[in-house]
């Protein structure tokens, strides 16, 4: 019976094990899988490997419209997409994503590269 | 690749289960597999001193299989599960849930079988 009392007194004299959360946040660990942040869309070659490897079918890649789309509500944050990306252009965030009011998808579209102007050609 | 796998017929099942109990084996579980050609494989796994012994029976879809839950009481959950998910007609289970252990009334029947599913929407005829 006194075993627990000694524990309780030790707890009273030691500092708390918890944090005052919203005011004091723990730093994330390095390489923690928080969320899939997005894609560096200019480096992406739209191979679609991430979409095929994704276990929850959260990623949709369209080669024609040059778009990369993730549904963060389907994503299980396993990190496979970032691992298999041949260009290493997918980024994970160490911070987990906050809760949201409405569902939505994160879409990235590659802008068509501006056509380089040929030298010597004078535009009217 | 499964250690000590023996093919037996449905009639031998109860005898073999009795033998296993007599030989001081422990019943682990049973596995049902749809072969895709109207037959199902049911594999019964037994264990003694971490050594496994397996019996495989092959039955037609919807066939009758005697329950071993009177010999090994612990088989009742897995037999109810096989009955529901694969539609094997297992007779004389110690506690028979009548197909409502995991599924409710309006669920699909035997959902683990490979079968053609047609979805009827409301209003369609």
């Amino acid at each position: 019976m006194f075993d627990m009392i000694s524990n309780i007194f030790k707890n009273l004299s030691s500092k708390p094990a918890t944090r005052k959360y919203p005011f004091e946040k723990r730093e994330t660990f390095k390489d923690s899988r928080g969320s899939v942040k997005g894609v560096d869309i200019d480096t992406c070659i739209f191979c679609g490997i991430c979409a095929r490897k994704c276990p929850s079918d959260a990623i949709a890649v369209d080669r024609n419209s040059k778009s990369w789309e993730i549904d963060p509500f389907k994503c299980v944050v396993c990190g496979v997409c970032a691992e298999v990306c041949p260009k290493k252009c997918l980024f994970m965030d160490e911070q987990y994503s906050a809760s949201a009011y409405s569902k939505g998808k994160n879409k990235f579209v590659q802008q068509p590269k501006p056509a380089e102007e040929e030298p010597g050609k004078v535009s009217a | 690749m499964i250690e000590n796998l023996t093919d037996i017929s449905v009639e031998q099942l109860l005898t073999e289960a009795h033998n296993m109990l007599f030989d001081d084996y422990r019943f682990i579980t049973a596995t049902c597999v749809d072969n895709g050609d109207e037959t199902l494989d049911v594999i019964y796994h037994f264990d003694k001193d971490l050594e496994m012994k397996n019996f495989k029976i092959r039955v037609q879809k919807g066939a009758e299989v005697p329950s071993i839950s009177k010999i090994y009481f612990c088989a009742l959950l897995v037999e109810n599960e096989m009955k529901e998910l694969f539609g094997i007609n297992i007779t004389n289970i110690a506690i028979d849930y009548g197909g409502h252990m995991l599924l409710s009334d309006d669920d699909l029947e035997s959902p683990m079988l490979r079968q053609q599913i047609t979805i009827e929407r409301k209003g369609d005829k």
């Binding site: 390489d31 899988r33 396993c78 | 690749m1 682990i28 749809d34 971490l50 612990c74």
Partner: protein, 358 residues
């Protein structure tokens, strides 16, 4: 005397997950118990048939939150033996370390829940405070707290640096010291013993025939622990299963508490003799044939049956989890016990319903 039926669950303060029991009572004594499960059936076995065998690792991890690493380990070991993949030694040791970390966190969680079930709130908090250290290690080494996704077919996904191994050993020591302070409360406290000793006795023969698994079987004196088969790197570690003979709730608590110490020792052993080298090998081809893979989870033995047909999809993946094996034992334990003991009795099988129904 007339009989009454009292429904227990699916929502009950001691149950983290929905399990429903129909308790047929005579006065305060239970005459019969009929379980009803199916509240969290998700059809994961069917889902695995539609996914690639490499993706299934992430599905089987999500069968259960507490033993997610062990599920992936069982699956990977099965596929590896189907495809004849030799896992590098470092990966096998890493698997042992993570598996034992999972065992520690599962047992500490359970000890806390047990304390909560007999109304010992401060003991509950003490156990969970210790558990938090394990969770932090898992996030630091693998990137996630619970579903750590450490396994892949052919090895592990991440390596643990040598500094981190030293840190893990020192944190393991800390956990042991903290637990040493709580241990006498479980072992000697008058009220705790009153709730546990002699409650829900399961004799050895009965437990064996009912197919009890894990701490449930070991609490009844059955010397059965799949780690004795030496999967992963357990064959190279010094290991002796913990067996208690009383078969009551107290014995099962002792088994789990002692297994925490044992896991700490196993982690320290593995961290001291872990070899250098690769952590995974590339895997080519598709699985073909059928295999049974078994691993000792915190709750007992898990069995995976796999049948591959030479394509990227598996024909069948069947999961038999330890709680599935322990429910029949629970049904035999309940008749004859008091209604007030039911929460403690249900907890001592360490129920994991989402495992059971998949």
């Amino acid at each position: 005397m007339p009989k009454t039926i009292i429904p227990f669950g699916p929502q009950h303060p001691v149950l983290p997950e929905p399990l429903h029991l129909k308790l047929v009572m005579q006065d305060e004594t239970i005459v019969e118990a009929i379980p009803a499960i199916g509240y969290v059936h998700r059809g994961l076995e069917k889902l695995t048939e539609t996914k690639e065998f490499t993706q299934n690792v992430y599905i089987v991890e999500r069968i259960c939150g507490i033993c997610s690493f062990m599920h992936a380990l069982t699956y990977c070991q099965g596929i590896e033996s189907l495809m004849g993949v030799e896992v590098p030694p470092r990966a096998r040791f890493l698997r042992v370390i993570w598996a034992e970390l999972h065992r520690i966190h599962s047992h500490l969680l359970w000890l806390g829940l047990l304390a909560d079930a007999f109304g010992f709130e401060s003991l509950f908090m003490q156990c969970w405070r210790n558990r938090e250290k394990v969770m932090d290690i898992m996030e630091e080494t693998c990137g996630s707290r619970v579903i750590i996704s450490g396994n892949t077919i052919g090895g592990t996904r991440r390596d643990i640096s040598s500094e981190m191994l030293v840190k893990i050993s020192s944190v393991a020591d800390e956990i042991r010291d903290d637990l040493k302070r709580v241990e006498p409360v479980f072992f000697n406290d008058y009220t705790v013993k009153h709730r546990l000793v002699g409650v829900g006795v399961l004799e050895r023969e009965k437990a064996y025939v009912l197919g009890a698994a894990g701490p449930m079987a070991r609490g009844s004196g059955i010397r059965q622990d799949l780690r004795m088969t030496g999967y992963a790197a357990y064959g190279e570690l010094d290991f002796e299963p913990i067996v208690e003979t009383d078969g009551d709730c107290y014995a099962r608590t002792m088994v789990r508490l002692k297994e925490v110490y044992q896991s700490i020792e196993l982690i320290k052993q593995a961290a001291s003799i872990i070899p250098e080298g690769e952590i995974s090998v590339p895997v080519k081809g598709f699985p073909k044939g059928e295999v049974v893979s078994r691993v000792e989870q915190p709750r007992g033995e898990v069995l995976y049956y796999m049948r591959g047909n030479g394509t990227k999809n598996l024909d069948r993946l069947r999961v038999r989890t330890p709680t599935f094996a322990n429910i029949p034992a629970l049904l035999q334990m309940l008749p004859g016990s008091q209604l007030a003991d039911v929460p403690v009795l249900i907890l001592t099988i360490d129920p994991c319903i989402s495992c059971t129904e998949r």
